[in-house]
Symmetry: C2
Subunit: 460 residues, 2 copies
Amino acid sequence: MKNIVTDDTIVALSTPSGVGAIGVIRLSGPQSVTICEKMFPALKLKEAASHTLHFGVVMDGKEVVDEAVVGLFKAPKSYTCQDVVEISCHGSPYIIQKVLQLLIKQGARPARPGEFTMRAFLNGRFDLSQAEAVSDLIASESQAAHHIAMNQMRGGFSNELKELRQKLMDFASLVELELDFSEEDVEFANRAQLVNLLTEMISKIEKLSESFRLGNVLKNGVVTVIAGRPNAGKSTLLNALLNEERAIVSDIPGTTRDTIEEIITIEGIAFRLTDTAGIRHAADIIEREGVARTMQKIKQASIVVYLFDANEMSATDVLADIKKLGGEDNIAVLPVANKVDKVEGKIKAEVKFEGIGSLLFISAKNGQGIEELKKQLCNAALQGADMQHDIVLTNARHYESLQSTMQNLSNAKKGIETKLSGELVASDIRSALTHLGEITGEVTTDDLLGNIFGRFCIGK
Amino acid sequence: MKNIVTDDTIVALSTPSGVGAIGVIRLSGPQSVTICEKMFPALKLKEAASHTLHFGVVMDGKEVVDEAVVGLFKAPKSYTCQDVVEISCHGSPYIIQKVLQLLIKQGARPARPGEFTMRAFLNGRFDLSQAEAVSDLIASESQAAHHIAMNQMRGGFSNELKELRQKLMDFASLVELELDFSEEDVEFANRAQLVNLLTEMISKIEKLSESFRLGNVLKNGVVTVIAGRPNAGKSTLLNALLNEERAIVSDIPGTTRDTIEEIITIEGIAFRLTDTAGIRHAADIIEREGVARTMQKIKQASIVVYLFDANEMSATDVLADIKKLGGEDNIAVLPVANKVDKVEGKIKAEVKFEGIGSLLFISAKNGQGIEELKKQLCNAALQGADMQHDIVLTNARHYESLQSTMQNLSNAKKGIETKLSGELVASDIRSALTHLGEITGEVTTDDLLGNIFGRFCIGK
């Protein structure tokens, strides 16, 4: 950690840039209070208690720069565990720039992205996976993404890993001890118990790894494509799904919706509904096949809603279309029969489409079946996981470390079973511990930290 | 003020929307603390002292919404003079929306634009012109605009007005007193002194009104056009002016520069340099005349830099061009001879252009004379005003009220001089007092306040 400096005082704007009522500038480091006092000649902050607020006037020589409120957090009772000062200025870009310049002139250094959170990590406020969750939390756009990030930030994931790591460490020390007595051929570590532990760990890590796909989907939104032949009612369905949600989504500031995608939230899960002209004509493409771009969209999807007009299609046609769509392993295809309001009788339709599993009957026009479709979309997204209680993996770095850990554990297990030398088994276990430790930050390098915190926003 | 409610509790995001490290949600009103406590079940805010900070967990039932810091300002020691709570959440649009929704569910009402500042005004924290300056302060993009707004917010302008108003009020009460004794034909108010006072006031208000044009220019930036024939070196000059400034300007977040305008700051004054292809070919236009759009740009300008190649032009041509440019009263035309690095001797050039007043010799290419040009730009912008000490008018509403005041005062003065009845003079003076009072808010209506604060950003 020799290149990472934490004993200077850093400063950054912590609120989004732009014009607003207030902007908050944050300082962290041993000189925070001293630097701040120079800007507010009338305030006596050194004597003030931690967790207090002070109204003051920012001066640049004789010129009044702003009237501001100073929030004081004294070490170690702060986000970074250092002295932290938060200055709430008027939200004018000119003033904020001016105050930042003055603070830098007084000795503060502009913070790098994520540097406050990095200091919090380095000072032991939380582990690395918790620190990473802060960034995910800020970026989360749906209840599901928020829930996963919050759980991770509050230590749910870390605790699970720490437990595994502790058990492995206990065994590892016994194995290492054997090495010290290798000439005496003793066995401190019960091999059967170790194999059991390794099997249990591999199974747990496998389960976590499997959750990565779900985690990614929940974090970034479930890519969902509505496909079907022309006149199946795709845009009517899209509108039916969007109608009630659109108002809520557009209320959330910062939610970006480009022209080709609409985001709707169902039970806290964000679905990215692809709404291209291309997709709307997906049926043509199914018929003609090979219009690569639209099929590419479908390949990237987690869920394809295959919509057809119950009055126009035969079961054979439907099955043929679904076969063309559902080529990929990871894509859930939901067949949906539309326009049932026009069908003479629902039972007749059901008989007509016998043999198509879990077929849903809807009328996009009058809303019939839409609620059931939403439920099925959620089920397809969650793949049986319990969002409230399962630990879900969302971070590619964690996934890679877990894959390496699993490889090491498998090697160790194989080594024991084939009675390889303790030396080799111990080496595999050490590697596994290292890879696990990378996730929570027991094992880090400057590069790794730079890479992780470089993705944060400035001021966090 | 019967339609303006201030006894409920309002809430808004006070920081700019978007993703950031933190977002601050502000509450003001008698229920602020109670509502906040419902969101943070573990916090006891009612017993806590004013001006304290509290770390807490925002809960929605059993779901953790966020870990946040609560800042407490108890009435009357707050911005609005009511109980104010500021919640610093993680800067995630999802979380901010969620927390806002929860606060509203608990009884807070979404604040209208400027409603916090309106409450501050209604509770006597500052007068109306000071409240208006808060909005100007936030919008200020240059040192000059910032200086004027800060001076106004801190009461410089109000004090000047209050002094005038007080003097007038003293006289007015004497005049009114005379009316009560009208049958006895007494004169409590010395007519000569009253005329002197009116003359003094009219002169002061005239001076303030005159500063409006300057104030507007300083607040919004000085519109400056570089004109001249092709090859005069206009773009080289633009680059020479921009070069050192561009870095500083682009450091300020939120500074918008569209393609046709570049903003540079010289000694704290923002200059909006128009940089259209049209302007670059302004010389063609001068020759041909009547290309309306570009001449329109020049008409909107405060300053036109007329640039010409000292080697190519004769004094006669230059004078002819300047005459075409400087048609408008309020436009300052700065004639600038470029490419003096190529002229055989500066003295020779000066002789050549004898008769053109205050001609500046520069070389846009090697930087010669650029500093002097900057000085002249500032002088032309300030028109002799002393930015540090003069009170400058920037608000159109204030300007209109002052114009009306001046009209009333002139009428009153004329009335006295022509020995009109005391009744009529008193009526004019009452009108003048009303118009003066509108500026600082002694006289207001719901509509006026709605109009003023409706222009603020939400959360201020």
